[in-house]
Amino acid sequence: MNWLPKGSTPWLVAHELRLAFRGRPTAQRSALIFLGILGALAFGVGLTVAYALRKVEIPITPISALIFDLVLVAVFTLMLSVTVSRAAQIFFERGDLELLLSSPISGRRVLTARCVGMALSASLMFLLLVTPFVVSSAVLGRPEWLWSYGVLVSASFLATALGLVIAMGLFALIGPRAAKTLAQILSAVIGASFYLLSQMGRYLDLGPVTRSPGFWRDAMTSLLQTGLFAPDQPLSWPLQAITGAPVPATAMIVSAFVIFLLVTAALGARFERDAAAAAGVGAGRGGTSTKVRRFSEGPFSAMMRKELTLFRRDIALIAQVLLRLLYLVPTGFVLFKSIKTGSDIAIPTIVSILTFMSAQIAGSLAWIAVSGEEGLELLAASPAPAQGLRRAKLVAVLVPVGWLMIIPLGLIAWTSPQGGAAALLGVIASALSAGLIAIWYETPTPRTQFRRRRGGSWVGNLAEFGLSALWASTAGLAATAWWPFALFPALLAIGVLFAVQRPQKTYAETLPGA
């Protein structure tokens, strides 16, 4: 980045990208080999598809335009989900913000650079996903597919502009602290919105018409009859753009960039003000309680109380954990509805899903409590045994899981006592397993890096997922008439637990330079 003019927007963007990549955990050799194999496989698939489609011309018709627009809307919502969350973080994850804002560089320029970095990172996953096909197609004589890069990048710049407007709007309306939390929740809801909407007909009883198999087909036909997706209409531009029509492609890209620049220019001045306001959050905040509380007795109780308090206080982080479960909501609705119809598979399926969910929640919370421990040095300097402290963390993790599961467990038990017992055992076993995996594969990482928690041990990740599936199968089978068969996955799960067990380190051993 030395050749870029110092203090210019491109120089700042290069700085952002450098920080983004330096922040990632260093790839280990095994991870690099795995990525290499994955890349080769992706290119194999991409090349095959590109070869099969090398002579196929995508028809520009209203129906193809509508289908592609729906795909693009799905991609856009996922990008928007990322950008809303990142836009809110801009103000709170201080990093070098104070340094930048105290420099002679204008706040507007800082915001633009930060947003460019945000847009590029939001589009990165999609760019990587299409690259095997796009590059293979270009090599096989269809270079027009390269325009899809432009379409994706312009969508991400548009998503960034909108994400910024939403985050700063929330900031202005409800203040910095609430804005941060709400933006995280909104981000998860937006990310799941396309899926939830697509499933709406299955779980919302909007009358006989939504239950009709032809409802969605009729809805699409009505949309097509509006004429908005005709080849001469702007809604067909995205499809035309990726198939190489230069005018729609250029129009899309230019308009996205213009909107992006206008938004960042308009909000630049406000950005400095809001960032300064966010820096003062907490200082003037009222107390949490005025009474002098009872003090804990012993390390176990102290640790449990501390973890539960931190869970309760970090609403944004806990929202991230719980909102992942949004994707299971439609399935849950459908299954609970099917209990009414007396379906044989409804209860075992619900029991399995509940068991899997409890493992997911417990795994996430355990990662926050164990790997996200902020006071490692304090714990290392204390005489309390590490094993006991980690056990207290595990119990603290099980408490919120228990609260979350109590109602569904009660409903299942009310409908089927056997199902209730199976679900209870499944929930406890899967949550405990996930917690133990988090302890055995502890990787000290700041809590703010929760989204990157999968960057730790792949053995731990695989074991957590495998055990969740095994306990889900165990609980599901235990809820059926063939309950003795539940022993097989249960024994397998116990075997896996023994196989992946690792000796626990002391806290001093986890410190850097130990």
Binding site: V281, G282, G287, T288, F295, A302, L378, S382, P383
Partner: protein
């Protein structure tokens, strides 16, 4: 090293032959150190001399390659939990849980050191009032200034009434009144029979507060004793600690 005045009393810390290496680099090299009970001991040395590494080994945060550490007669390497129960450690960048209030933080630390609830509660109130943090006791630490955070962390270090209080650069970045408060507290602690070890780059602090001073350079203790004893070692009678220090770490002394 010049002979120190003999001491027959109990020692708070006895370190013998302590060595810590990082690859080819020896951070602490066969270090011997004795800190007497009821004294304020200042460990001085240039950056990278091995002060923090030594103290981190004493507190059980780092494992030495060789040597022995005894805290109030307890072998810290053989029975680390027993030794840790006697020590409090305040690093130069103390960690506070941002989402906890000072009271909750003290509750947590007291729990780690198994201080009975009622005792901890009373002590927390006493310390927070002494540190002028009582009014802030129910506010999350995330909004605190550096000085307030330092005070809250120091309160945490004192909640279990340690026999040996070890502080790494405790006055860095504090304003004059805050620094004064902490210096007074440290002196009071020593008057009450406690032992304090601190590292500092502010030589005036060591000169005014410390009963004895140790000078460490390149991982070795080059001298230890009272200021007068150090002057004698350096051959700098009536000199300031700064002159003595620069002489002892073998750096040129400005005319």
């Amino acid at each position: 090293m010049a002979a120190e005045q003999t001491w027959d009393g109990p020692n708070a810390l006895v370190v013998r032959g302590l060595t810590k290496t990082y690859g080819a680099k020896t951070a602490v090299d066969q270090l011997d150190l004795t800190v007497r009970q009821g004294e304020l001991y200042a460990l001085l040395g240039p950056n990278g001399a091995g002060k923090t590494t030594t103290l981190r080994m004493v507190t059980g945060l780092l494992k030495p390659n060789s040597g022995s550490i005894a805290v109030c007669g307890v072998d810290a390497l053989a029975t680390p939990a027993k030794a840790k129960a006697l020590v409090a450690w305040l690093p130069d960048e103390p960690m506070l849980y941002d989402k906890l209030t000072p009271l909750e933080y003290l509750d947590f630390v007291a729990g780690l050191w198994s201080v009975p609830g009622k005792v901890a509660k009373a002590r927390a109130e006493e310390i927070l009032k002494a540190f002028d943090l009582w009014d802030q006791r129910n506010k999350p630490c995330e909004g605190f200034s550096r000085g307030m955070k330092q005070k809250a962390a120091l309160a945490g270090a004192l909640i279990h009434d340690p026999k040996l209080l070890i502080l790494d650069e405790p006055l860095t970045g504090l304003d004059a009144s805050m620094a004064r408060l902490i210096k007074d507290m440290l002196q009071q602690r020593v008057r009450d029979g406690g032992t304090v070890i601190l590292t500092t780059h502010i030589l005036e602090v060591a000169e005014r507060l410390a009963d004895r001073i140790g000078v460490i350079a390149s991982g070795k203790l080059t001298a230890q004793g009272t200021l007068d004893e150090l002057r004698a070692v350096a051959g700098k009678d009536n000199s300031t600690l700064e002159d003595v220090f620069l002489k002892l770490i073998d750096e040129p002394i400005a005319p």
